[in-house]
């Protein structure tokens, strides 16, 4: 393993080979990424509907397809399968090709698999809206959707292994371990969980354990390693500094692999299970301090002395924000697993707040960072407007912080009130309402951010918005979009 993705003194040959590598991953990565951005918008829409319904239950009230019990799981599934997983696959294909110094194999097949995956999300979402969901969190999509995800997941695994085996780089970088392991974990997790859930392989409360074995691991062993791998790549790459410690990154990887997959049962604390199954989950969650602290030290120490770059680089600012939130959300998650903590916060909005600090504050922010880095490299274009990126960053970061802190605060008190039988239950409902409105407001902020991001993505993909001069930093001034188009038109007229 080397400490830097690629050496600082770069030969002309390396530059050329990198162009060829990016060229090979262009089409598949663009399809996975663009699809994920479209799902991000649809996921935000489903989120807004669900959120508003929680404080105004009559909003769109008469429409059975949009009832809370359907639109809320659709939000979760679109965000998990559509946005998170597709963004993760895009990032992983691009990263692995770069890190292995090989051209991406089977670009057509991998593009086709993205479309298969998309079909799965569409079919699954419509099924849930039509009332065919299973009410099993993260596995709501009916059994017939499984092949749409299992087959592409295996295809991505195969491509990943092929790149890894045929790699031209002499060293293995820590990111590659995470990426490889994640692609091994996803198909095993998904196929096993679907078989157990839909084909009656397990009965009674084992179904609930399977549910959380999958639900927790899908986050911790699929999207988390990919985001950690991405941050491990982007932070040294943008700052030009080597990763702080090789040994720590090794420890971080293996401790994640060993401990994370036992943690899921903390979702069932106090439930109808043998106590030891919960205890195992609590221990697993506590041991997660090891990988989290190692990653935190490594990322933070790599940034030491170059924090000023956060002012200018969008990629770095999103990634470092996400990396920081990884530490915060993971610490919170480990503590949350304790029985004394769960007694209060289980079954409350606290869990929802935590989930968003993790999947949004950590994972999504790093994916945004990755996209700000990767899109220009595979489109040979630049981001059209620093202002849009600013709207995106501030909408997302302030939005998720207000969301997370607001709901965790509300959930804590909601839990204390719920545990006090002298307080009528409906009073807990009344107490949470203002925070639910805060949730809609912060969710709107995040949605605006996503729209700004989608406009940026559309412009970088569109031939009408060629931006040739240098990367777009937060400090970059570009002519307004309208002027651009006019200039473009003038140029075209002159050419004629």
């Amino acid at each position: 393993m080397s400490n830097v993705p690629e050496g600082p003194a770069e030969s002309r040959l390396e530059q050329v080979s990198r162009i060829l590598i990016d060229d090979s991953s262009r089409v598949p990565v663009l399809i996975w990424f663009t699809s994920s951005v479209i799902w991000l918008l649809l996921g935000s829409l489903a989120a807004m509907i669900s959120s508003i319904k929680l404080h105004h239950p009559d909003f769109l009230g008469g429409i059975e397809w949009l009832t809370f019990g359907r639109i809320r799981p659709v939000h979760l599934d679109i965000v998990f399968f559509g946005w998170s997983s597709m963004a993760a696959v895009g990032a992983l294909l691009w990263l692995q090709a770069r890190l292995c110094h090989v051209r991406l194999p089977w670009p057509l097949l991998l593009s086709g698999l993205a479309m298969v995956w998309n079909v799965g999300v569409v079919v699954g979402s419509v099924a849930v809206l039509a009332g065919h969901g299973s009410s099993i969190e993260y596995l709501e999509f009916p059994a017939y959707c499984a092949p749409f995800f299992a087959v592409p997941a295996l295809g991505v695994l195969a491509a990943n292994v092929k790149m890894y085996l045929g790699k031209n780089s002499q060293h293995t970088y820590v990111s590659q371990w995470y990426l490889l392991a994640a692609t091994v974990w996803l198909p095993i997790l998904y196929v096993t969980a679907m078989l157990c859930t839909y084909f009656g392989l397990v009965q009674g409360v084992s179904q609930a354990i399977t549910n959380w074995w999958f639900g927790h691991n899908a986050l911790g062993l699929w999207v988390t390693p990919i985001a950690v791998a991405t941050a491990y790549y982007l932070i040294p790459k943008v700052t030009g500094r080597p990763v702080h410690s090789y040994h720590l990154s090794l420890l971080g990887f293996w401790s994640l692999a060993i401990f994370y997959n036992w943690a899921g049962t903390h979702h069932l604390t106090g439930g109808p299970l043998p106590a030891w199954t919960i205890t195992v989950g609590v221990v697993g969650s506590m041991m997660m301090f090891i990988p989290v602290i190692t990653v935190a030290i490594n990322h933070h120490m790599t940034m030491r002395g170059v924090f000023h770059m956060l002012k200018t680089s969008p990629t770095l600012r999103f990634t470092v924000f996400g990396s920081f939130m990884y530490t915060v959300a993971s610490f919170q998650g480990s503590l949350e697993a304790l029985r004394s903590h769960q007694e209060i916060t289980h079954f409350t909005q606290y869990t929802i707040g935590h989930a968003h600090l993790g999947l949004y504050g950590f994972f999504s922010m790093i994916m945004f960072g990755a996209m700000y880095y990767i899109f220009p490299r595979i489109t040979n274009n630049e981001w059209s407007s620093a202002r849009l990126i600013k709207v995106h960053f501030w909408g997302s970061s302030i939005g998720v912080l207000a969301y997370g802190i607001g709901l965790c605060w509300a959930g804590w008190w909601q839990g204390l009130m719920m545990n006090d039988p002298s307080i009528p239950f409906l009073q807990t409902v009344e107490y949470v309402k203002p925070y639910l409105i805060l949730r809609s407001v912060s969710g709107a902020g995040m949605t605006i951010a996503h729209i700004a991001f989608a406009i940026s993505v559309w412009r970088i993909l569109s031939r009408h918005h060629f931006v040739m001069s240098g990367p777009t930093l937060f400090t970059t001034e570009r002519p307004a979009w309208r002027e651009f188009v006019n200039e473009q038109n003038k140029r075209e007229e002159m050419a004629q």
Binding site: P57, T67, L165, T192, L436
Partner: protein, 203 residues
């Protein structure tokens, strides 16, 4: 090169290990669960759902009730479940031996339903609550499930099955009757009764 297989093998083993430990072994342990026979009438507990209640479970699932309601009672001294009268004892694995899918839930936007059938045995309460939660629980954020009911114009005559709406919620000359799905859901809710004593659930 060996490292590749080390990572793949390691990833595989870690996940296989936790699958066995958390899912397969407990599942094998639970196989020995047997229902208890009630000495008074010879009925068994737990019993599988049947009839309308069984159909009602599908309505419960398709409406996504589980996203706001749990079906589990935590032990005495852990949370306020028993003191809130959501159950007379904690629920244990055996309570769920026939549940497929299991609907434990993770969120209590609304109260726990593990024993809602024991707490609210009356059908009409459920119908009113589903038709408009504000009738029975003012301030609730539960949606109105009016599509589980149909409106009948009946003038003076009260059609069979019409729910006893308070005057303020009833339009002149119309009556509200539950649809088949509404009836199924209510029977399912009324079947939620996990009060039968089990030896392993002393708390």
């Amino acid at each position: 090169m060996n490292r590749t297989f080390l990572v793949i093998l390691g990833a595989f083993l870690t996940i296989a290990f936790s699958l066995s430990g958390l899912v397969l072994i407990p599942n094998w342990q639970f196989q020995e669960h047997k229902p208890v026979v009630n000495p008074r009438d010879g009925s068994q507990y737990p019993a599988p759902y049947y009839g309308l209640a069984l159909q009602g479970r599908d309505v419960y699932v398709d409406q996504g009730c589980a996203y706001c309601h749990t079906q589990q009672v935590r032990p005495k001294g852990y949370g306020g479940d028993i003191r809130r009268n959501w159950g007379n004892r904690r629920t244990v694995a055996r309570d769920y031996m026939y549940e497929y899918p299991i609907l434990l839930g993770t969120m209590r936007t609304g109260p726990d339903l593990a024993n809602i059938g024991a707490r609210q045995p009356a059908r009409d309460w459920h119908y009113l609550h589903l038709y408009n939660p504000q009738i029975t629980s003012a301030g609730s954020v539960m949606p109105r499930y009016q599509y589980l009911f149909r409106t009948v114009k009946a003038g003076e005559l009260v059609p069979a099955g019409a729910i006893p709406l308070p005057a303020a919620f009833q339009a002149e000359g119309t009556h509200i009757v539950p649809t088949a799905r509404g009836e199924q859901l209510v029977e399912y809710l009324r079947a939620q009764n996990r009060t039968f004593p089990l030896p392993e659930a002393k708390q």
